[in-house]
Amino acid sequence: MSTPQSQFRTALLDPALPVPDGLGDGRGGPVGRRFDVYRNNVVSSLIDALEVGFPAVQKLIGPVNFRAIMAVFLRQHPPQAPMIAVYGAALPGFLSGFAPLAHLGYLPDVARLEQALRESYHAKDSEALDPAILQDMAPADLMAARITLAPALRLIRSPWPVHGIWAYNMEDGAPQPGAAPEDVVITRPAFNPDMAVAGPGGATFVAALAGGQTIGAAYDTALTDAPQFDLSAILGILISGSALHRLIPGDPE
């Protein structure tokens, strides 16, 4: 049997349904359109939150389309927790399956990038590793070590030039996006997330480190993935983004 709150909830999210029974205007009269105040609050406040969270997606499809499509999204995927600042983790998947936007194949990855930026902003703080520690190590010791990464680090791997598309829509004077796929490393040097395009093999290397591989093994994995892998370039991104947290020395050979 459905409870009063499940009837209320279902009718809130479906304007085609009748208003639940047993409601009034406080004066002994009918409830009229008073229930719509709650319907409007729920839908418009959630769409507003998604506008704040996904400005590049909004720009790409236009503000009017955005509100209409988010009204569909939020009914299928209402928030599962009251932390509205990170509501929208299901949006990329929803956009992937949303037929009217199938011609914008990159849109789900732009949404993933924006969600990752929000998660990074709110992620736990961590102390950055002093890069001098890496410079002072003998190469063999360095390759045998593992590194834990900052909780604010995010990796977006995309077959699209996702960073270029994001920047073109969000930053004044940014160039037209190229055609090449882009993997994006999100770091948070202080409080504001920062983005960098990882060169060939860079994302593979970061993912391998995150998976617990030694620096040497991650290097080999990245090199297998991309022969032109540049270790110092990706380490530069991670160090300047305060994304290396702690060095765990390897076992002596």
Binding site: R33, R34, F35, P82, K124, D125
Partner: protein
């Protein structure tokens, strides 16, 4: 989550009987430079439930200068189901880390069957609702090891099933659970308009001895026509403008009964620059000062 994060060095044990404002990040610098007459700040708990970053760093700075009221909007105390254990844990964690001067939540529900609806939804005032709300408050107060304040809602509709007045319901909750009450004067004004009741009579019936905090905020008239024969447009609790003059009058009436209490200005939408919000705080401080003069 917050375990590794540096805790604030100072804690305030209670809200001062002065003026507070709802904290907005764009006012951080103004508040840290010269906040007068603002003595305390209210934050929305759910905005500080991430692991770290700027929100918690700012909150730590603020809490070393101001008494902080943590105001939850998402616990769904009136929900038919059990409290969301994860959310209760997040709230307890924040309270444990910050040790705020006050914690408040709403007489409302917002989560049902795992979906959070981001609004404060209404409840029928019945014996069943009373026992459920009290159970949930007991559970929260046990988790945070301190009493909470429960806020009266702004209402847009009534329930045929209600058997108690809202003031009676709130008084009963306070008596059974030992919680305090947060009286939102603007909400009283809105509900009175929307449900055809007398706002002053509501204040006169309110169990003022339990009031731990007062709220003021701006409201708007509903843009859409409510079905006839509604005598007046609905008022919407928008928190997007100055406090209306009749709400200031209702505050004065409230203070006559309650005496001075911690008084908050809420402005959450179309947030103005600091001087405008401070102007509201100055007016609130004057109202409090008047209520301190013996009759």
């Amino acid at each position: 989550m917050l375990d590794d994060l540096k805790r604030p060095n100072i804690s305030y044990s209670a809200l001062p009987n002065g003026v507070g404002v709802g904290y907005k990040a764009q006012h951080f610098t103004d508040l840290m430079q010269d906040a007068a007459p603002v003595e305390w700040l209210e934050i929305h708990a759910e905005n500080y439930m991430g692991g770290g970053g700027r929100p918690l760093a700012q909150l730590r700075h603020l809490s070393e200068r101001f008494a902080i009221s943590v105001h939850g909007v998402g616990l769904s105390i009136g929900g038919e189901g059990a409290l969301d254990a994860d959310h209760l844990a997040r709230l307890s964690h924040l309270v444990g880390w910050l040790n705020p001067a006050s914690l408040s939540e709403h007489l409302a529900w917002s989560t049902h069957e795992g979906a959070y609806l981001n609004d404060l939804l209404p409840l029928p005032y019945t014996a069943d609702t009373l026992s459920r709300v009290c159970d949930h408050i007991d559970q929260l107060q046990e988790a945070i090891a301190r009493p909470m304040l429960l806020e009266n809602p702004s209402s847009y509709l009534s329930f045929d099933a209600s058997t108690m007045a809202e003031t009676e319901f709130l008084g009963e909750v306070a008596a059974r659970t030992g919680c305090g009450l947060l009286l939102d004067v603007n909400n009283v004004f809105i509900s009175a308009n929307n449900l055809g009741m007398d706002a002053r009579a509501y204040i006169d019936a309110f169990p003022v001895q339990h009031i731990g905090e007062l709220h003021l905020g701006g409201h708007d008239e509903d843009e859409t026509q409510v079905g006839a024969p509604d005598p007046a447009p609905l008022l919407i609790d928008s928190h997007g403008r100055e406090v209306a003059n009749p709400v200031w009058d209702l505050l004065a009436h409230t203070l006559d009964r309650s005496g001075p209490r911690p008084l908050l200005i809420e402005w959450d939408a179309d947030v103005p620059d600091w001087p405008v919000l401070r102007g509201e705080a100055v007016r609130a401080a004057a109202a409090l000062a008047t209520s301190r003069v013996p009759a």
